[in-house]
C-alpha cells in the first residue's frame, strides 16, 4: 500500500468515526430531551405537592389558632364550674368534671404544639448561633429535670453556625429532653453531645436510654406519632416532627442510630455557609 492509499484509508476511518460519534450524540441528545421532559413533569408534580403542603400548614395554623380561643374559654369555665358548683355536683359529677378538665388540658397542649409546629421558620431571620451557649442555656432551663433524673453530660466543642436561633434552640431542647425522658429504669441518663466538621456540620446527641427498635425508627419523625403510652412517658408526640421540620428548614438531614435497650444517637447535619468553610 503506498502513502496515498494509506492516507485514504485513514481518512475513511476518521470519517466513519465522525459518523458513529454523530449518531451517538444524536441518540444521547434524544435521551436527554426525554429525560428533561420527564424531569419537568416531576418538577410540576413536586411544585403541586409543595403548594398542597403549604395549604395544609396554613390550615393547621388557622385551625389551631382558632381552636385555642374557645378551648381557653372551656378550660376557664370548667375551673369556674368546679370552684362555684363543685359541692352541688356530688362525687360522680366531680369525677366527670375532672375527666373533662384533663382532656381539655391535653387538647390544649396538642393545639399549642400544632400551632408552634406551623409557626416554625416563619417571621424569623437566620443569625449566627453559638451552639455551646445554646446547649448551656438549655441545661440551665432544664436544671430541675436534670437534677431529678441525675442526668450527666459530656459536651464536646460545638461550632457557631448560621440558622434560625429559636428553632435551633427548640431542636436541641427536644433532643436533650428526649434523651433524659426515655432513660432506662435505674440508670441515670448520660448524654454525649458532639459536632464534627465534614462536608456539613454533623451533630450527634447520644444517650444510654431505652433505645428504639429498628422497625420503629422510621415512624418517630412523623407528627403525633407515639411509641409509648402517655402513662409511661408524657408528651404529645410532636417533638421529633418539630426537629425534622427545623432541620429541613436549614437544608440538613436528621437520622437515628439506635438499638432497643442500647441507647440512641440522634444525628443531624447542618450545611455550611460560604463564610463558615
Amino acid at each position: 500500500m503506498n502513502t496515498d492509499d494509506k492516507n485514504s484509508v485513514k481518512l475513511k476511518k476518521a470519517e466513519r468515526k465522525i459518523r458513529i460519534l454523530e449518531d451517538m450524540v444524536e441518540s444521547r441528545t434524544r435521551n436527554l430531551y426525554a429525560a428533561n421532559l420527564n424531569l419537568k413533569k416531576r418538577n410540576d408534580s413536586l411544585r403541586e405537592v409543595i403548594l398542597r403542603n403549604e395549604e395544609l400548614e396554613q390550615f393547621a395554623y388557622v385551625a389551631s389558632h382558632d381552636l385555642q380561643e374557645p378551648l381557653i374559654t372551656i378550660i376557664s369555665f370548667i375551673d369556674l364550674l368546679g370552684e362555684e358548683y363543685g359541692d352541688k355536683l356530688g362525687e360522680v359529677g366531680k369525677q366527670y368534671l375532672d375527666f373533662i378538665s384533663e382532656s381539655s388540658s391535653g387538647l390544649s397542649s396538642v393545639v399549642e404544639d400544632l400551632l408552634d409546629y406551623s409557626k416554625l421558620g416563619k417571621h424569623h431571620e437566620m443569625t449566627k448561633v453559638d451552639c455551646n451557649e445554646l446547649v448551656e442555656a438549655i441545661q440551665r432551663d432544664l436544671t430541675s429535670t436534670i437534677s431529678k433524673s441525675k442526668a450527666t453530660f459530656a459536651v464536646g466543642e460545638l461550632p457557631e453556625i448560621t440558622g434560625f436561633k429559636t428553632e435551633l434552640r427548640l431542636l436541641f431542647q427536644n433532643l436533650i429532653s428526649n434523651a433524659i425522658k426515655f432513660c432506662a429504669e435505674d440508670t441515670p441518663p448520660h448524654i454525649i453531645i458532639t459536632a464534627e466538621k465534614g462536608t456539613n456540620w454533623t451533630f450527634s446527641i447520644q444517650d444510654n436510654g431505652i433505645g428504639i427498635a429498628k422497625g420503629n425508627q422510621e415512624k418517630i419523625f412523623t407528627i403525633f406519632q407515639r411509641l409509648h403510652s402517655k402513662n409511661d412517658y408524657e408528651g404529645t408526640g410532636i417533638g421529633l416532627a418539630q426537629c425534622k421540620k427545623i432541620i429541613n428548614l436549614h437544608g440538613g438531614e436528621i437520622w437515628i442510630n439506635s438499638k432497643q435497650d442500647l441507647g440512641s444517637t440522634f444525628c443531624f447535619s447542618i450545611p455550611f455557609y460560604e463564610h463558615e468553610k
Binding site: K13, R16, K17, I20, L21, M24
Partner: protein, 181 residues
C-alpha cells in the same frame, strides 16, 4: 469494554512502535467489531484481548509486560485528558483513595453502561496503602502499570507487591503499596 480503553491501546501501539507495526497487529486480529472504535462506544472484551494477545506476539513481549506498559501509558493519557480529577491532591495515596468514590462515579456519568472494577482500601500505615481490586476482566498488570503512572505523575516512588487470592469464590488481588514519602 469502553472504546476509550481501545483508543488508548491503539495510541499506545502507534506512539511506541509506529503505524506500520500497528497496522500489522490490527490486520492479524480477528475482531468482532468492524467499525473503528470510538471512546463512548461499548465493545466486546474479546476485542481488547485479541489486540493485546496479537500485540504481545508481534512485539515479542509477554502479555503481562504489554498490559503493564499499556496501563502506565493509559494513566498519562487520562491525566492529560481529565486534569480536573488530579487537581487538589498533592500525594498519590490520597488520590488513589478517590478512584472508587470520585473518579468511577464521574466515569459512570459519562459512560452509563461501563463495567468498572471495584476497589476497596485499607490504610495500615501513613506511607502504605492496600488496594483490594476486583474485576471480572482480571487486568492486574494493567492496574499495576496505572499505579506506576500515578507514581510518575506525583513524582513519588511507589513500591508494589501483589497477592492474588480467592475469597468466597471470587478472585481478588491485593496491591500493597509503599510510598517513598
Amino acid at each position: 469494554m469502553k472504546g476509550i480503553v481501545l483508543n488508548i491501546t491503539e495510541d499506545f501501539i502507534i506512539d511506541n512502535y509506529g503505524e506500520e507495526i500497528f497496522d500489522q497487529i490490527m490486520s492479524s486480529c480477528n475482531l468482532k467489531t468492524e467499525d473503528p472504535f470510538v471512546s463512548p462506544g461499548t465493545y466486546p472484551d474479546s476485542d481488547l484481548f485479541e489486540i493485546v494477545v496479537n500485540a504481545s506476539k508481534k512485539l515479542e513481549i509477554t502479555i503481562e509486560v504489554f498490559l503493564k506498559k499499556l496501563g502506565h501509558f493509559a494513566f498519562a493519557k487520562l491525566a492529560e485528558r481529565h486534569p480536573s480529577f488530579l487537581e487538589g491532591y498533592d500525594h498519590p495515596k490520597i488520590f488513589l483513595q478517590t478512584v472508587d468514590s470520585v473518579i468511577h462515579m464521574e466515569v459512570r456519568k459519562l459512560y452509563q453502561d461501563s463495567q468498572l472494577p471495584v476497589f476497596q482500601y485499607s490504610d495500615p500505615r501513613k506511607d502504605e496503602l492496600i488496594i483490594t481490586y476486583f474485576s471480572k476482566r482480571k487486568l492486574y498488570p494493567f492496574l499495576e502499570g496505572m499505579i506506576n503512572g500515578v507514581s510518575d505523575f506525583f513524582k513519588v516512588g511507589i513500591i508494589q507487591t501483589h497477592k492474588i487470592y480467592e475469597k468466597d469464590g471470587v478472585e481478588l488481588c491485593d496491591y500493597y503499596l509503599k510510598f517513598d514519602q
